[in-house]
């Protein structure tokens, strides 16, 4: 029987397999950031051991960093402490840190691919659930807890049960105004925020093949929002063209050799999955969420379910969620007034996202009732945006282009959405309080966000292009 992309990579990384035990899985690349690593370093200290393979860990700071005045000391004491702790830990343990001011600094899931650190066939982990992003380049990449961060620092391995394999095929052509964020929000709305739990997902089909590398990252990024441990896409020429020439990508003969090996990774024709789902790309609308988990999404012209349309066992959670959002069952979202638009996060802060927004807003102005924050995913993205003059387009439209970081995705740094305010966000989670205590989040694509920024309310971008 043929093997899946997942099986091929997994099997090649098993150091030891023993009946009744989880596999000992070798990790090629470990990314760390300042929030989920300090306790792991303290663990190493208390055991008196060092990092086993320091070249295989890459460090940056992203969650706590301010996105204004990045050259000045961080104002918030605890954030400053956590960032300083990261600097000290990297120095003490001999790890290279892309800290504030470094040209490679940025959101960990943006910098891995853009620097060419992330390469097909790798196993990649990070103490961050959106590590699945790296799966877009044909890797097994997943989020781990801090105890596991310590294990990887100490041994470059993890004990892992092999998850089940799911294939999600998306065939056909996307309609105009529909982008990769809409594909993943559509899938999650159909299978729910727990529909992928226990599985590792491979996305396939001609609609996936047609996507750019960065658009693929958006899809893999949100795999965790359906509960899946990770998501991945087989490497192809799009992947190789994206990687070629990036700082850490192989060069010369090593490149040719690498590509030859990568070409053997895609799932075999006769590979079997534990579960297969299929979607028609042409049936996907621009999506927007209305509730407090990413599975609570609808087409932008649709209506929020009525109480009767919701399973009886789920009505309590549904009502609680709508109370939080101050929305009515059965109502429509089109025309809903907004207070903020946030374009950023590891889901949608790459150069293509910024280009998509700039192209739409060129010559337009933002509506007066809201603020628009554009937060590039990395120093590299910021630099590129300025080179291309996108910053001019944004400032002419009244948007504020800030410095790179996680920003308003998670209410941890200075960028928070105030209580009770509505934010249309290109990030990945609409949980209660995610963007700040009592903040209310609508998740959508960068294109839908751009449309909302101009109209001041939730809008159907298809009528504006």
């Amino acid at each position: 029987m043929g093997r899946t992309l997942f099986d091929k990579i997994w099997d090649a990384h098993v150091v030891k397999s023993q009946e009744g035990f989880p596999d000992v899985l070798f990790i090629d690349t470990h990314f760390i950031h300042e929030v989920t690593s300090p306790q792991a370093f303290n663990g190493l200290r208390s055991r008196g051991i060092g990092v086993f393979m320091p070249d295989r860990t890459r460090a940056t700071v992203d969650h706590n960093v301010p996105t204004l005045d990045q050259d000045k000391p961080i104002k918030e004491a605890m954030s400053r402490f956590q960032v300083d702790t990261m600097t000290r830990n990297c120095r003490d343990f001999g790890l290279e840190l892309y800290g504030l001011g470094h040209p490679y600094q940025g959101i960990v899931h943006v910098i891995g691919p853009e620097l060419g650190i992330t390469q097909p066939g790798m196993t990649i982990v990070c103490g961050d659930s959106h590590t699945s992003t790296h799966g877009a380049l044909g890797t097994i990449a997943f989020g781990i807890g801090t105890s596991e961060v310590e294990q990887v620092l100490a041994t470059q391995c993890l004990l892992q049960q092999k998850p089940k394999r799911m294939q999600i095929r998306i065939d056909g052509r996307l309609r105009q105004g529909v982008v990769s964020k809409d594909i993943i929000l559509h899938i999650i709305s159909r299978i729910s925020s727990s529909g992928g739990t226990g599985f590792f997902v491979e996305y396939a089909g001609d609609a996936i093949r047609a996507l750019s590398m960065e658009a693929r990252m958006t899809i893999c990024n949100m795999s965790i929002e359906m509960g899946a441990r990770g998501g991945m896409i087989a490497p192809d020429d799009t992947t190789y063209n994206y990687l070629s020439g990036r700082p850490f990508a192989p060069k010369g003969a090593a490149w040719d050799q690498a590509v030859a090996a990568w070409r053997r990774l895609p799932s075999d024709e006769d590979a079997e999955f534990d579960r297969t789902l299929q979607f028609d790309a042409a049936g996907i609308e621009p999506m927007v969420t209305y509730g407090t988990n990413p599975g609570m999404g609808i087409g932008v012209t649709g209506h929020i379910p009525t109480l009767e349309e919701v399973e009886p066992s789920e009505r309590n959670s549904f009502s609680k969620s709508l109370d939080y959002m101050a929305l009515q069952p059965g109502s429509r979202l089109l025309g809903k007034k907004l207070d903020y638009v946030f374009i950023g996060s590891c889901t949608n802060s790459r150069i293509e996202d910024l280009r998509m927004v700039a192209e739409f807003v060129r010559g337009k102005k933002k509506a007066e009732n809201l603020e628009v924050w554009i937060v590039p995913g990395s120093k590299q993205v910021e630099k590129q945006a300025i080179q291309e003059g996108l910053d001019q387009v944004f400032s002419a439209a009244g948007f504020s282009l800030r410095g790179p970081g996680c920003s308003a995705c998670l209410g941890m740094n200075e960028d928070k959405i105030p209580a009770g305010k509505y934010c249309l966000s290109t990030s990945n989670r609409n949980f209660e309080g995610r963007q700040g205590p009592q903040a209310r989040t609508f998740l959508a694509s960068p294109l839908t966000a751009a449309a909302a920024a101009v109209t001041g309310c939730i809008s159907d971008v298809r009528e504006m292009i």
Binding site: Q151, L158, S194, T197, E432, R434, Q438
Partner: protein, 199 residues
């Protein structure tokens, strides 16, 4: 590093029927700034437990002083979302040792096990039954027997079996963690890397 050993526990239960409780609810990001593993219990379920001024919300279950159980019974898909282990630390620090739900987020479940917390997955119908039992008698006790892999409402309820990976079970029973085992493999791991990446 040896943890507390876990074999069997008898305790009252604390019911939290909400579904899809994500780790941002268990502990919001703004409370993740400590660099130690302790003290997170204070902010467990922070925004459900306290209002904006920091006053306890009377209607939240943890603010009911009669609820002292060490077993948290939660609605399905508990612990979804962010990988933050701080969620498991907050739960352990607060004093819960067993979690029961019909479904757990994958990463959270691992984090719980790595901190000596036992997550027990039960069928939806049994979960409803437990909520019913607690509603009938808030002090009703449950026995969680890890060694024989069952839970049982006391006195004399039917034994409800549960699954757990045999390796993880022995870790919990003996108080071991994964790192002890992995560290013993360092030479083997070094050879694996050298063979996989020659030169």
């Amino acid at each position: 590093m040896n943890r507390k050993e876990f074999k069997r526990m008898v305790s009252a239960m604390v019911p939290l029927p909400a579904e899809n409780v994500d780790t941002d609810q268990i502990i919001p990001a703004r409370f993740l700034k400590s660099t130690t593993r302790t003290g997170f219990g204070e902010n467990l379920f922070r925004d459900w437990r306290y209002d904006a001024e920091g006053n306890p919300r009377k209607d939240f279950i943890l603010n009911d002083p009669s609820r002292t159980g060490k077993i948290l019974v939660a609605g399905k898909n508990f612990g979804c979302g962010s990988s933050r282990e701080h969620a498991a630390w907050a739960i352990a620090d607060y004093g819960f040792a067993v979690l029961i739900s019909s479904f757990f987020g994958d990463i959270f479940k691992n984090n719980a096990l790595n901190n000596g917390i036992l997550p027990i997955q039960v069928p939806d119908a049994y979960l409803r039954f437990l909520f019913g039992e607690i509603a009938r008698d808030p002090g009703v006790e449950l026995a969680a027997d890890l060694e024989h892999q069952f839970i049982q409402v006391l006195p004399g309820g039917d034994q409800q079996p549960f699954d757990i990976n045999p390796y993880k079970k022995s870790c919990l029973i003996n108080g071991y963690d994964d790192l002890d085992y992995l560290l013993s493999l360092r030479p083997e791991i070094g050879r694996f890397e050298a063979a996989r990446y020659p030169g």
